[in-house]
């Protein structure tokens, strides 16, 4: 008989090993799925995990793409993870990402066609401000009226999407666009364009900011008093209150920070890879970042790796659907399996598994 024994504290060893096991389990279960679809499972797995990095035809193009895809995921996930650690659940990063993009792009477009070098930094600040403002709504409602920030932040995503559709067709619409929705393309607006810093590397300012955020979060959590308060609030809320943590200030800080980072990610994306404000600009990064945050164990370095891994499954998944004709839905299923196995494996972190001989009656 198998018995689960609760560990007094989560195992650090298993917390580090389970993501690797989850990836392996995903490969096996996904391989079975591909096999059932009539595709060679080994080729499919190789196409997803190996070819984007090392294929002679695609590698040179898809390696930099890894950074492009991972950048916003990491930047958003870092912000979310700090809140999650404190037990503050911002589920609406997608909305903050969209609003950040709208506000930041709006500032840039208002000055079109300036050539000032100051415009891009100003847009970054505006983007962060937009995301921060959007996150302040659930934060304020929670602090003032005790509403649930999960629901409020999630619902605000749909409001943000409606605003995105509205500005794409109205306020920010390209005046030279013959009435079609969508703003001017930032690729044709050099001062405001978030291009590659070194051509062919995929490295744009959003990726740089993501790396800075990783370092910043690491220092905050391990070296700073505020980081200690964050961790304490999540792990022992009562003890935190006794030790003088003000819950309201922590809520404002965590939601504000994650909102600002998500808003910045939106700005970097809209001025860089996406190029324009359009109705379907919101591509789900804000939600995927939640998966990345947990896949990375809410740990800054873990999130860095998890973001790159997630990006790899996206790019590899695209490649697999192109090269092998695997349906897009199967690729999404494959990515879903990753989160499923990760959460399922949490049992090893929190429980000790013992084999017990059935006692004689």
């Amino acid at each position: 008989m198998i018995v689960f024994e609760k560990r007094p504290s989560p195992s650090r060893f298993w917390a580090a090993v389970t993501p690797v096991l989850a990836v392996l389990a995903t490969m096996i279960a996904g391989g079975v799925m591909f096999w059932l679809l009539g595709k060679d499972p080994l080729v499919a797995i190789r196409t997803i995990f190996w070819d984007p990095l090392f294929d002679p035809t695609f590698g040179a193009y898809s390696r930099p793409q890894l950074l492009v895809k991972a950048g916003p995921l990491i930047l958003i996930a870092i912000g979310l993870s700090i809140g999650f650690r404190a037990g503050i659940w911002n589920i609406g990063a997608e909305g903050q990402y969209i609003i950040g993009a709208i506000v930041g792009a709006g500032v840039g477009l208002a000055f079109y066609p300036t050539e000032s070098r100051l415009i891009f930094p100003l847009m970054v600040l505006a983007g962060a401000f937009g995301g921060w403002l959007w996150a302040m709504i659930p934060a304020f409602l929670r602090v003032r009226f005790g509403t649930n920030e999960i629901l409020v932040s999630l619902m605000l995503v749909y409001v943000a999407e409606a605003m995105l559709a509205s500005v794409s067709q109205g306020l920010l619409r390209n005046p030279d666009g013959m009435g079609f929705p969508g703003s001017r393309n930032f690729k044709e607006y050099p001062a405001a364009h978030n291009g590659e810093i070194i051509a062919g590397t995929g490295m744009h300012w959003g990726v740089v900011m993501a790396l800075i955020a990783v370092i910043f979060a690491y220092l905050l959590l391990s070296r700073h008093m505020l980081g200690f308060q964050v961790r304490l609030s999540g792990e022992a809320p009562r003890a935190a209150r006794f030790s003088g943590v003000k819950p309201a200030r922590l809520v404002l800080f965590c939601l504000g920070l994650s909102g600002a980072l998500a808003g910045m990610a939106g700005l970097f994306e809209v001025t860089g890879p996406a190029g324009q404000v359009s109705i379907d600009f919101g591509s789900g990064y804000g939600f995927t970042a939640i998966i990345v945050a947990f896949l990375g164990r809410l740990n800054p370095l873990g999130i860095l790796l998890a973001g790159l891994l997630m990006a790899l499954t996206y790019i590899g998944g695209d490649l697999a659907s192109l090269m092998l004709g695997i349906p897009a839905a199967a690729i999404q299923l494959f990515q879903g399996m990753l989160l499923f196995f990760l959460l399922a494996m949490d049992i090893f972190t929190n429980f000790r598994i013992r084999l017990k001989k059935p006692e004689a009656a």
């Binding site: 067709q169 890879p273 695209d318 192109l322 839905a329």
Partner: protein, 360 residues
């Protein structure tokens, strides 16, 4: 038919002699397709994929087609097209309006690859655009809808307020009013091309508001199913025939027939005669098809609709013929005047009689 046999003969000859196959050393011509939805959507993307299959059927081993479905409109489309070009595709069809800037971006990096962008308007040396005059089909739909409605309320599930969609609403409305002066249109903007749940909700909301005809500019069959469930509501297939819902609720359809165009453009690439162009074909050239008008439609209405279809095909009637006014009452087209393509391509206004505003 003849051309196909000649081509097959040539293919066999080439295979028969090693010299021949060496001449064709480049191997089959690779043609890529980028789809915005899943190929099983039963509508827009399904029809584009039928076009792809027609290319395969036409050229056999001389072509190899690849496709990627459900590609979001944005940065992901750049990657999808770049990977196709790297893989050796010589011709890429990007089959949604939202890929426009991405097509131009990738096309600039691969000057030797030809791109065809559906429903767009920006061209380059290696980027051509093509679309169909769906509004011609909408005129036929509007005629049937105006004749068939008993509540005089016609529901319209619109996708995005872009000229193509607004054109369709206007065309259907003009022709419904022509045969039934009491008809009203209720328009719901779904802000999606394909979302069965949203489309079903929109259809139900319209039916609750008294609509007994549902027109749709979205791609799934969900509105058909919702109408079937409600009963006494008629619909029209969108993009593909959706014949599985005939004879009721689906009484007819607009069918996008991309196959002849895709075959012609692929042949042009193989011949080396491909040139960037701007194609906008309608019922006459067969790019827009009117699906079988079902037995639920009275014979005289069917005859009237078919006469309109034939007049449009023959070029003797244009769906936007004056006198027509804009919604605000200002004059647009004088008696007998026909709308020019430029105005139609950028159409952002409703015609007189439509209620509500074009969202902005």
């Amino acid at each position: 038919m003849k051309r196909r046999t000649i081509l097959k003969g040539a293919g066999a000859l080439a295979l028969g002699s090693t010299l021949g196959s060496r001449v064709l050393a480049a191997g089959p011509t690779k043609v890529g397709f980028i789809y915005v939805g899943p190929i099983g959507d039963g509508g827009w993307t399904y029809q584009h994929d039928q076009g792809r299959l027609a290319v395969e059927a036409e050229f056999g081993d001389a072509v190899e087609t690849v496709y990627q479905e459900s590609v979001p409109e944005g940065a992901d489309a750049v990657r999808a097209m770049t990977q196709m070009a790297l893989q050796g595709a010589e011709l890429i069809f990007a089959t949604s309006f939202g890929y426009m800037d991405q097509v131009l971006e990738v096309a600039a990096k691969f000057p030797n690859v030809k791109f065809e962008h559906a429903t767009g308007y920006k061209t380059a040396d290696n980027v051509g655009v093509y679309s169909a005059r769906f509004y011609e089909g909408r005129a036929v739909q509007g005629t049937i809808a105006g004749r068939m409605t008993r509540s005089n309320v016609i529901g319209y599930i619109a996708s995005f307020p872009i000229p193509e969609v607004i054109r369709g609403i206007n065309s259907a409305f003009i022709h419904a009013r022509k045969v039934n002066p009491d008809v009203q249109f209720k328009v719901i903007w779904a802000y999606t091309w394909f979302d069965p749940a949203k489309e079903a909700d929109a259809a139900k909301a319209l039916i609750e508001q008294g609509a007994d005809v549902i027109l749709q500019h979205t791609d799934s069959t969900a509105p058909q199913a919702a109408a079937q469930e409600a009963g006494n509501v008629i619909t029209f297939g969108q993009a593909s025939d959706m014949a599985e819902y005939a004879p009721l609720p689906r009484v007819s359809s607009i069918i996008d027939n991309w196959a002849p165009y895709y075959v012609a453009r692929t042949r042009a690439v193989m011949d080396g005669t491909w040139q960037s162009d701007n194609t906008w074909d309608g019922i006459g050239k067969g790019m827009v098809g009117i699906g079988e008008i079902s037995s639920a439609v009275p014979a005289e209405v069917k005859a009237e609709a078919e006469a309109l279809r034939d007049a449009i095909a023959a070029g003797s009637y244009h769906p936007f013929t004056g006198p027509l006014r804009k919604q605000d009452g200002s004059d647009w087209l004088a008696e007998g005047e026909v709308a020019d393509d430029g105005t139609l391509a950028g159409m952002g206004f409703y015609v007189e009689g439509l209620e509500g505003d074009v969202p902005s």
